[in-house]
């Protein structure tokens, strides 16, 4: 191609800098986040949510933090041979174009040592941390244990 034409085409270069929707937090959404109210005198409680990965590649959730709790861990409950168990999860992979539901009796967050007593209907902040993409902030409501579903959608 003649250099003259290449020069003309150079105006297209800035177009390469426009982010194309692909792997990124833009394609992750977290919905229906519920944190159980802790019974009196109890400093650990559970949290649940649904995470949707609309990317064409898997994403790996490596942890969750919250300024409202000293520590947050990811666990998975199960009942095997009639025995209830919980296993801590180091990281959880959400496959491409799919969702993962954290729910009672299954994957859940364990939130330890609230910095202050949290009341029902109070809102707290959560930060979802991933291995390959930026973390995602969300807010969640404290709800009564066993209460119905609430709907808070958080995505970019």
């Amino acid at each position: 191609m003649k250099p003259f034409n290449l020069l003309r085409l150079s105006f297209l270069i800035p177009l390469l800098l426009i982010p194309v929707p692909g792997l990124g937090q833009e394609s992750i959404s977290i919905r229906n986040i519920r944190i159980n109210e802790a019974p009196p005198g109890i400093n650990v409680t559970a949290g649940y949510f649904e995470i949707y990965n609309n990317n064409d590649t898997p994403v790996v959730l490596t942890g969750v933090t919250s300024p409202a709790f000293e520590r947050v861990e990811m666990h998975r409950s199960s009942v095997k041979d009639g025995i209830a168990k919980m296993e801590k999860q180091g990281s959880i992979t959400i496959p491409e174009n799919s969702n993962l539901v954290f729910k009672q009796g299954d994957y859940h967050l364990m939130l330890y040592n609230p910095v202050k007593k949290l009341e029902k209907d109070e809102m707290i902040k959560l930060v979802f941390i991933f291995s390959d993409i930026d973390s995602l902030e969300a807010t969640a409501m404290i709800r009564e244990i066993g209460a119905g579903e609430e709907h808070h959608h958080h995505h970019h």
Binding site: V79, I83, M86, G105
Partner: protein, 210 residues
Amino acid sequence: MNLKNFSVFLAIVAVALALASYLLGQQRPESRPEIQGLLWPDPKTLEEFSLLDQHGHEFGLTRLKGKWSFIFFGYTYCPDICPITLAIMSEVRNRLNKSDEINNLQTIFVSVDPERDSLQRLGEYTGYFNPEFIGLWGSEDELRSLTGQLGIFFEKHQASESGEYLVDHTAAIFLIDPQGRLVAILSSPHDADTILSNYRRIRSFIEIHS
């Protein structure tokens, strides 16, 4: 075969048929009905055990007699399965109350974590879910005086650096009748509708057969 022998033969057949019919008729009412979790015809009669309720009062076999009892096991540091079960059992209790049925029913949560679950902690915890719930505590040996009879499993994990640990435990709910017999084991996952339905059917069956 001549007529006399044939008549004898017929008589024997008739008697045999009558006997078979009688025996079959006898067996049908006693056969195990299709009720989920029911332990029949061999419910296990419990023996003495010694625990404390959340008020510090002794709780043994005598406090199971004369009432129906749901008993299940867990610990207050369990954030997922135990609170769910307690919330479900509270709903069961409330629905039975609203229906004006003759309840005579107690709901008992037994801690398998005596190290961390003090009586006060247990009382606050069970009271949060339903003020009518009973929380039971015992040392590990005292716990085993009950868990051993029911075939309950519990095992403490190794503690983390911060001293926290998880406890694996049997997830089923046990139903004891007013004679202190284990009459049903309701396996998880639990939901209020199924528990209510099974409880009513089991109770009706046991009351007829006791």
